[in-house]
Every structure is written in structure tokens, then in C-alpha cells.
């Protein structure tokens, strides 16, 4: 059940549809910060439907988050966030704007949020999570944007272009607001990335993927912006939609402080055969590829760690090191 206080963070780690819930080391620290997963199920949306009007509240509130919505009754037009349980992940086009390419919410849930990023999308932290860290969110492509990028439509291009070699991308950029100020730091996530020299590495995100946002630190709210390589006179041609679920936020109990972000230095980077880094505390290390797949994990002790990576395919990876007190991450490029 979502929207309950828990010490669990869900990672989306599979490419074949099998979902793993990875219990992080946070579970071993009951006296420290706990986390809340806001999964939107508490909104009570009926199966296979959507809600694009948040009413007078102006936002959909679930757990410790609020998703602002704007609805124009004159035109029956909405922007911001909509809530959906639509399961159609096969019909392309605008008429299926509430669908997610997975066919349902993250972790097998029914309800998820659809963001229409006409401008900047905002996610507000509420309750005990206000002003605390967002550890991460699950994101995926909307069905509308996915098929538009995969096959093109009358307005937007098929990613890769005519030759298949165009370095196209569809990028989600997340920033935070704290004390009314927008952070300069941001975290990018590519919902589609066709910039690889080897076209076989080009990908479209087609399943829920956990996006680690812990590096942003404490926040009052998050902003989401979509950018595409397919732009023209009328702006971005790729449909400005993405889907979101399972927002993992911290809440602080009287028992202690929240985990802190610690820097993680890795070398060499790019790496060939063995990756070295220093773990300040014992914990668990995980290596996640660009598609959100867990490709390696092991427990490590404090000290210098040598992680053999010669068997990995070339590409970009994220190294996550979690301990009782720290969550550290580093971007790794495998040659």
C-alpha cells in the first residue's frame, strides 16, 4: 500500500517488466529519517479513467505532495497535472493523452500522474515532507509522447530522423524551490536518448524508472521542464507529456536527522576494467544503467572498493552507494 510512512524506497530496476523493490539501508536506521511514498492511490480514481480537473483546490493532493492543476471549463482544457488510471498503452496520438507506456502505475499500481508541461510543471511538498528532501520519483513516458517519438506524427518527427542518425533527445530537467528560490542545480533524465554514435544504444524509456533526486537536497517544491531536440518555429514538436508516480520524500521524526548526501569520487572515469572508489561507511553499492536497470550490486565495507566492470557494455551508468547515514551517487562512463 502506498502513501504510508515507510522506510522503503522503490527502485524500478527491470527492463522486462519484473519489478524489484530494493530495500535500502535506510531500513536499518529506524531512528533516522523515514520516507513517504506518495503514490496517488488514495485519490480513489476508478479503474481505467482519468481526472483532469482538480476543482477549487487547484491541485491533486496525495500523501505529502500536491500536483497543481489548471482546468478551463469554457474550453474543457487542462494543464499542469492530471490523474489517470488509463491502461491503453497501444493507441498513439492525442486522444490517448492520459495513457502511460507501461499501461499502469509504477510498481503495478493503478494510478499515476500525467504531466502536461506546457510551461513549467511544479510538484509541491506538503505536510511533514515540506522543506525536506525528495529522494526520488518514478517517471515514464506518456503513451502520446512515446509513440510520437517512436513513429513520428503529422507534426513531430520520428526520433533519429530520416536517416536514423539524428541525435534526438527528450529530456526531463528537475530543479527544486527552497525558500522561494529556484536552484541552479538540476538533474536531467532522458526519456529518450538517440545521441549515441552507435544507434543500437538509442532508447526510449518504455517503463517506469526511478529517478534519484536526493542530490537536490531539501526542497519546498520541484519544477519539471521538458526539452526536445525536435523544435521548430512553434516550439517543441514532441508532445510535452510525461508520467510520474511514487514520489519518495523524507519526513523527519524526533528520533534523528535525515541521511545526508555525501560526495563519491570514482576513478578512473571513463573506466575500462575496474572502478575504484572510497566508501566512508559500510553499505551497499549498486550500478544502474541508462535504462534504470540494476546491472550489479554488492555489499561493501568502509575503505577503498575495487569494482570489476569489464563485463559491462559501454555506456553511461549511475553508481549508488547507500549506508546508514549517507546516499552517494556518481555518474560513470564505461568505455
Amino acid at each position: 500500500m502506498k502513501n504510508m510512512i515507510t522506510s522503503t524506497i522503490f527502485f524500478r530496476l527491470s527492463r522486462n517488466g519484473v519489478v524489484f523493490a530494493v530495500m535500502l539501508a535506510l531500513a536499518l536506521a529506524p531512528l533516522h529519517a523515514q520516507t513517504v511514498v506518495s503514490g496517488l492511490e488514495d485519490l480513489g480514481l476508478a479503474p481505467n479513467t482519468f481526472q483532469n480537473n482538480a476543482g477549487a483546490a487547484g491541485a491533486f493532493s496525495s500523501g505529502n505532495i500536491a500536483l497543481p492543476n489548471s482546468y478551463d471549463s469554457q474550453f474543457d482544457f487542462w494543464s499542469g497535472w492530471a490523474i489517470s488510471s488509463v491502461t491503453d498503452n497501444e493507441t498513439p496520438g492525442f486522444t490517448n493523452q492520459y495513457g502511460v507506456v507501461d499501461g499502469g502505475g509504477a510498481e503495478g499500481s493503478a494510478t499515476f500522474a500525467v504531466g502536461y508541461a506546457f510551461d513549467v510543471l511544479v510538484l509541491r511538498l506538503t505536510g511533514a515532507s515540506a522543506g525536506r528532501r525528495v529522494l526520488g520519483v518514478s517517471v515514464s513516458n506518456s503513451t502520446y509522447a512515446y509513440y510520437s517519438m517512436k513513429d513520428g506524427d503529422a507534426f513531430a518527427k520520428k526520433f533519429g530522423g530520416i536517416s536514423g542518425n539524428d541525435p534526438d533527445f527528450f529530456r526531463l530537467t528537475v530543479r527544486k524551490y527552497l525558500g522561494g528560490e529556484l536552484s541552479a542545480d538540476s538533474i536531467d533524465f532522458y526519456l529518450a536518448d538517440y545521441r549515441f554514435a552507435d544507434n543500437s544504444q538509442d532508447y526510449l524509456v518504455d517503463e517506469w524508472t526511478f529517478l534519484d533526486l536526493s542530490a537536490l537536497g531539501e526542497a519546498d517544491s520541484l519544477s519539471f521542464i521538458l526539452n526536445s531536440s525536435d523544435v521548430g518555429v512553434f516550439g517543441m514538436n514532441t508532445p510535452a507529456y510525461f508520467c510520474l508516480d511514487n514520489v519518495v520524500t523524507e519526513v523527519v521524526t524526533s528520533a534523528g536527522e535525515a541521511p545526508v548526501q555525501a560526495p563519491l569520487a570514482v576513478f578512473p572515469n571513463p573506466v575500462g576494467e575496474t572502478l575504484y572508489f572510497t566508501a566512508l561507511q559500510a553499505g551497499e553499492v549498486r550500478l544502474i544503467d541508462g535504462l534504470g536497470q540494476l546491472v550489479a550490486s554488492r555489499r561493501v565495507d568502509a575503505g577503498t572498493v575495487a569494482l570489476p566492470v569489464q563485463g559491462l557494455a559501454a555506456g553511461r551508468y549511475t553508481l549508488l552507494l547507500t549506508s546508514q547515514r549517507n546516499i552517494s551517487r556518481a555518474a560513470v562512463i564505461k568505455q
Partner: protein, 643 residues
């Protein structure tokens, strides 16, 4: 080719045409002398530049639509989405809605889009095509900003019977049959024409240099239509005309170059009815005309679960009188009432309606070496006055060979129903686009040579664009832009005859600067930036040679680079060649048979007229036209002809 094979092909082509009715003229069966049906004072050319294509010229365009005619003849830029696909015009740097299309003097564009798909205007339905350049709102009203494309049918009083069957086949599965029948007696004249065509349009294309050739899929088109006119002259001073035009078209919409597949298609159906009455007095002329136009468009894309039916109905009634005040002076005045309504899933409320009233007038003064015209028009839309549209034009002869022309006019275009009522974003408070235009030109005529040079300037403000208005999360229509257009047009024509042979050369060059004057963030427009899909340079040249039953023509067109939505489209050049041979070409022959072969895009240019929409390389058409005519006997001659 073996004889039996030839007979099979010939017979197949002919059999395709036989089920159809009607007739039209060809090169050696010329149309009877035209009778002016359009309002005379408004139709007369004073100051502006006009290009005309009569039935003889249009007869060479069997199977073509008016978009293809204009591409080959020059003058207008045609934004074509592909072979047989949607095509719109841009004249003097204006948008598609800035070319007013008239059919026998009545505007036929619908209120929802305010423009016409010229690919759905078959050349066979037109006896005379003319393109009036420049601002004409004082004469014709909304939309006459870049120019006026006038489609006219002409009666054949006194010309007897004529008929023609045309069968045409071409590359990519093109098949077309046409039939025309014309009768012109002393008090009656009738014409009927019909066509049916199918085409696969599955041409091969290379998506980009270095890539493998592909074949266009889901691009088929089919259509049929009829057009008929009945003219009656109950007396020497009166004439009545009834016109009808029905047409259906079904077109698959192919995928773009960056689209994997398409299941989209569009079906169009048109019914146009018009009635004209004219009474001619000794010093005055009165006319009344009415039109009823109904169109349906059904766009669908089953893959996207998109089904978008739309339709509109317009009804127009117009009355005008023209009086000769003196040997040098004529005055004209008229009134128009129009009603329009439209339905589409894009309008949230009840179908919008529009009541239109217009008063217009003109005064023309002639003197020995020239003429001038002062005209004005005032319209009211749903009771609200629109911008007055005055104009002053003059033509002055400088000797026998040189004529100076000048025109200054205020012009406007009403916002369309989509601009006003579409959800979301329609803006009921839009103002008309409006502005002044000026032009001046020289026209030289010396023997078989004619040449002209024209310069123009136009500034349109309140230009309507869709943009994301502040505080809104959708695009909406607004009077947010201003566009300045200026340029020069050069034309050269030469005609000569050697014995049995006639040669004609036509050439032209257009320089068009049409720039946005106000910078916008979205759409992303810089101040001074050329409008997209408006080429700065266009040029064309054509040679026609006719004699001893043979006809040869070659036309060449250069279209300069244009801006587009994502990236500019490079310049391209197209060549068109045609060879025809007429059997039974002797004067007075009752029967004739014209065989022709045409090659399009002769130099196999790879080009796009619209971004990501491939166009065909070299392709062919061949056909046969069988003609019959029987003049009236002397006892059947028109009794009014001597009056």
C-alpha cells in the same frame, strides 16, 4: 509497340472516358467567344496587374488541378503537400487566406478556414482563369489582399454543338476520364462536364542523399465531379445563368519523411450552386447573383482514434447596377448579403453563424490616354462595421506602346471561424487584418512582344497568429503580428508566326520580401524575418510551338529557398515538357483526335515544397482527346448577334 497492343491501350483509355458526359474545347476546337458575365466595372482591369489563361491555354492541362496549372505557369507560389494532396497559394508574400478565390464572381472559400485547397479545383471546370495581383478588397471584400484568383465559366451562344472525351493515364496509377458537352444556340447555351479520376500516387523517392529508395505508401486519391451551366437570353437585353458544381474527393494522407506510417485520410464533398441575372439598358446595366455553397470535410486517422467531421454552408445574394454617366464616366453601386454557418467538433458551443452586409461602389473615368477608378467597400459582420476599404487606381498610356499603371488600396481579411471559435484558443474579439497596399508598373507592347515591370508594397497589421498568450496554457488566436511585403515582378511574352507555325515565349521573375515586423517568442519570429513558405526568388520560362497539328511546350520553374517550421527548404528547379498531335486538324473538320504525352519534373529533381513531404521525381502522363463539333446552321444563328 505492336498494333494490337496500341489498340488495347487506346481502347482502354477511351473506354474509361465513355461513361462520362460533357465536353470542353481543345487546341483546335476553340471555345466560342466569351460573353462577360462578371460584374463589368469590377472585372475591368484598371491599374492592377492581371494574368489570364483562357480555355485554349487550359486545354493543355487535361487532368490537372489549378494548383498544378499555377505551378507551371508561374505567378503564384503553391505550397503543395504532395502529388494530389492539399495545395494552397501564396501571392505577393501573403498567406493562403490572402488569395480570394471567386467562381463566376462569388467567393467560394468557407468561413472555417478562409482558404481553398486549389488541388480540388479541376482545370476542366474552368473556361477562363485569371489571377489579379494586389489588393482588391474594395471590389471583392475580405481576403483579397495578395490577389484574386477568378474562375469563370463562359456561355457559347451561337457556337453550336461541341463535345470532347478525354482519357488520360499516367505514372503511379493515374487514371482519369473527362467528358464535356457544349451547346450554344441563339437563346440558349448549355455546358456540362464531368470527370472521374483515381491515382495511387505511390511514387519512389529517396528520403535523403545516400539512403535507399522507398515508395510512398498510403497516398492514393480518387474523385469525381460535375459542373454544368445553363444560359438563357429571353431577350436582347436580358440573360440568366445557372451554375452547378458538385465534386467528391477521397485522399489518403501519406506519412511524412519522419513518420513510420500513416492511416490518415480526408474526404471532401462540395456542392456549389449559383444563379445570375443581368439586364442591360441603353446606359445602364443591372445584375443580381446568388450562390449557395456547401462543403463537407471528413478527416480521420483511425490509428489515432481521430475522427473530425466538419462542414460549412454559405449563402450569398448580391445586386448591383452600373450606369454610364457620360461618354467618359461610369458609376456602379451594389449591395451584398451573406450568411455563413459551420459545424465541427472543434467548436464547443452551438454552430457559429455570420451575417454579412456589404455596400460597394465604384466610379470610373476615362480620358483619351487613360482611365482611373475610385472604388470603396464597407462591410458589417453581425452588425459590427469592418474597416472601410477604398482604392484608387489608374492606367495611363504613354504613346501607343507604353502604359503606366498604379494602384493604392486598403484591404482587409476577416478572422475565420476557427480563429474566433475553436476550442481552446478561439478569440471572438479578433479584429480583421488590414492595411494599405501600393503598386506601380510599366506595361510595354511592341508587335508580338509584351513586357511589364511592377513594384509593390503592402503593410498589414493586426495579422492573426496563434500564440501562447500570457497566463494561458494553450495557444490562442491574436492580432499579434504585422507583415510588410514588397517586391518586384517582371514579365516578358513574345508571340510570332512563321507560316503554319506559331511560337510563344513567356518568362517572369518575382522578387518577394515579406517580413514579420514584430518579434515574437512563440511562434519564434524575429523582426525582419521572411515569412515561412514565401520564396524570396521565383522565376519561370516557357516555350510553346504549334503547327501542322503538332504542339510542343516546355516550361521551367525556379523556386528559391523557403523557410519552414524546422529547417529551410532548399531551392529547386522543375521542368515540364508536353508533345501533342492533332488528327483531323483541318479547318471545319467535325471530328478531331488529339494525342498527347507529358513529362513532369523532367530533370528528376529531388525536392520538397512542404517540409518532410516528398514530391515525385520524373513522371509521365499520356492521353487522348476525341473532339466533335457542329456549328449552327444559318437558320439557327443567334438573332441578337447583329444588335
Amino acid at each position: 509497340m505492336k498494333t494490337s497492343t496500341f489498340r488495347f491501350v487506346f481502347g482502354w483509355l477511351l473506354s474509361y472516358a465513355l461513361p462520362l458526359l460533357g465536353q470542353a474545347p481543345d487546341t483546335l476546337l476553340p471555345l466560342p467567344t466569351a460573353v462577360v458575365e462578371a460584374p463589368r466595372l469590377r472585372a475591368q482591369v484598371v491599374g492592377e496587374r492581371v494574368e489570364r489563361w483562357d480555355s485554349l491555354r487550359l486545354a493543355a492541362y487535361a487532368g490537372a488541378n489549378l494548383g498544378e496549372v499555377l505551378v507551371r505557369e508561374g505567378g503564384a507560389y503553391i505550397k503543395s503537400y504532395g502529388l494530389g494532396s492539399l495545395a494552397t497559394t501564396s501571392v505577393r508574400g501573403g498567406s493562403a487566406g490572402h488569395t480570394l478565390v471567386l467562381w463566376n464572381g462569388l467567393p467560394i472559400a468557407g468561413p472555417s478556414l478562409g482558404l481553398l485547397d486549389v488541388a480540388l479545383l479541376p482545370a476542366v471546370f474552368v473556361d477562363e482563369l485569371s489571377l489579379h495581383y494586389g489588393g482588391q478588397s474594395s471590389l471583392w471584400g475580405s481576403g483579397a489582399i495578395g490577389g484574386v484568383l477568378s474562375l469563370d465559366n463562359r456561355p457559347a451562344f451561337g457556337q453550336g454543338w461541341s463535345a470532347r472525351l478525354t482519357a488520360l493515364g499516367g505514372s503511379f496509377g493515374e487514371r482519369e476520364g473527362q467528358a464535356q458537352l457544349t451547346y450554344g444556340g441563339r437563346g440558349w447555351a448549355v455546358s456540362g462536364r464531368a470527370f472521374r479520376r483515381t491515382a495511387d500516387n505511390d511514387f519512389p523517392y529517396v528520403p535523403a542523399p545516400g539512403l535507399a529508395e522507398r515508395r510512398l505508401d498510403h497516398a492514393g486519391a480518387a474523385g469525381e465531379g460535375w459542373q454544368s451551366s445553363v444560359y438563357w437570353r429571353p431577350g436582347p437585353r436580358q440573360s440568366v445563368a445557372l451554375h452547378g458544381w458538385g465534386q467528391r474527393a477521397r485522399r489518403d494522407i501519406p506519412a511524412t519523411l519522419t513518420q513510420t506510417r500513416s492511416e490518415a485520410s480526408q474526404a471532401d464533398s462540395v456542392l456549389r450552386l449559383a444563379a445570375h441575372w443581368q439586364h442591360r439598358g441603353r446606359r445602364w446595366l443591372s445584375q443580381a447573383r446568388g450562390g449557395y455553397f456547401h462543403e463537407r470535410i471528413y478527416y480521420q486517422d483511425p490509428a489515432l482514434r481521430t475522427f473530425a467531421p466538419s462542414q460549412f454552408t454559405t449563402a450569398l445574394v448580391e445586386a448591383e447596377s452600373e450606369a454610364q454617366l457620360s461618354a467618359r464616366s461610369r458609376v456602379q453601386g451594389g449591395v451584398l448579403y451573406g450568411y455563413a454557418t459551420a459545424r465541427t467538433t472543434g467548436y464547443a458551443d452551438a454552430p457559429p453563424t455570420q451575417q454579412q452586409w456589404a455596400l460597394f461602389g465604384a466610379w470610373r473615368w476615362q480620358w483619351r490616354s487613360g482611365q482611373a477608378r475610385l472604388s470603396a467597400r464597407q462591410e458589417w459582420i453581425n452588425g459590427r462595421p469592418q474597416p472601410p476599404a477604398p482604392a484608387l487606381s489608374a492606367s495611363v498610356n504613354m504613346g501607343k506602346r507604353l502604359e503606366l499603371r498604379a494602384l493604392i488600396a486598403r484591404n482587409f481579411r476577416l478572422p475565420t471561424f476557427n480563429d474566433r471559435y475553436w476550442t481552446p484558443g478561439g478569440n471572438p474579439n479578433l479584429r480583421p487584418e488590414q492595411g494599405w497596399s501600393q503598386e506601380a508598373g510599366l506595361h510595354l507592347r511592341a508587335g508580338g512582344l509584351t513586357a511589364s515591370a511592377t513594384a509593390y508594397h503592402r503593410y498589414i497589421h493586426n495579422w492573426i497568429l496563434w500564440y501562447p498568450a500570457p497566463g494561458q496554457s494553450y495557444w490562442s488566436a491574436g492580432n499579434v503580428a504585422a507583415v510588410r511585403s514588397r517586391g518586384a515582378e517582371l514579365r516578358l511574352s513574345w508571340r510570332c508566326q512563321w507560316g503554319h507555325w506559331t511560337a510563344a515565349v513567356d518568362a517572369g521573375y518575382d522578387l518577394t520580401y515579406s517580413t514579420n515586423e514584430i518579434a515574437l517568442e512563440l511562434p519564434r519570429i524575429r523582426a525582419g524575418e521572411q515569412l515561412i513558405y514565401v520564396p524570396r526568388h521565383q522565376a519561370f520560362a516557357g516555350l510553346r510551338l504549334m503547327g501542322r497539328g503538332f504542339s510542343f511546350s516546355y516550361q521551367h520553374r525556379y523556386t528559391g529557398k523557403v523557410g519552414a517550421l524546422a529547417a529551410p527548404l532548399p531551392a529547386y528547379q522543375l521542368g515540364f515538357g508536353r508533345v501533342g498531335y492533332l488528327l483531323g486538324s483541318k479547318p471545319g473538320a467535325a471530328m478531331s483526335c488529339n494525342l498527347f504525352v507529358q513529362v513532369n519534373n523532367l530533370w528528376n529533381a529531388r525536392y520538397e515544397a512542404v517540409e518532410r513531404r516528398p514530391m515525385p521525381g520524373r513522371y509521365f502522363q499520356a492521353g487522348v482527346q476525341w473532339g466533335f463539333k457542329r456549328p449552327l446552321r444559318s437558320d439557327e444563328l443567334n438573332p441578337f448577334s447583329s444588335q
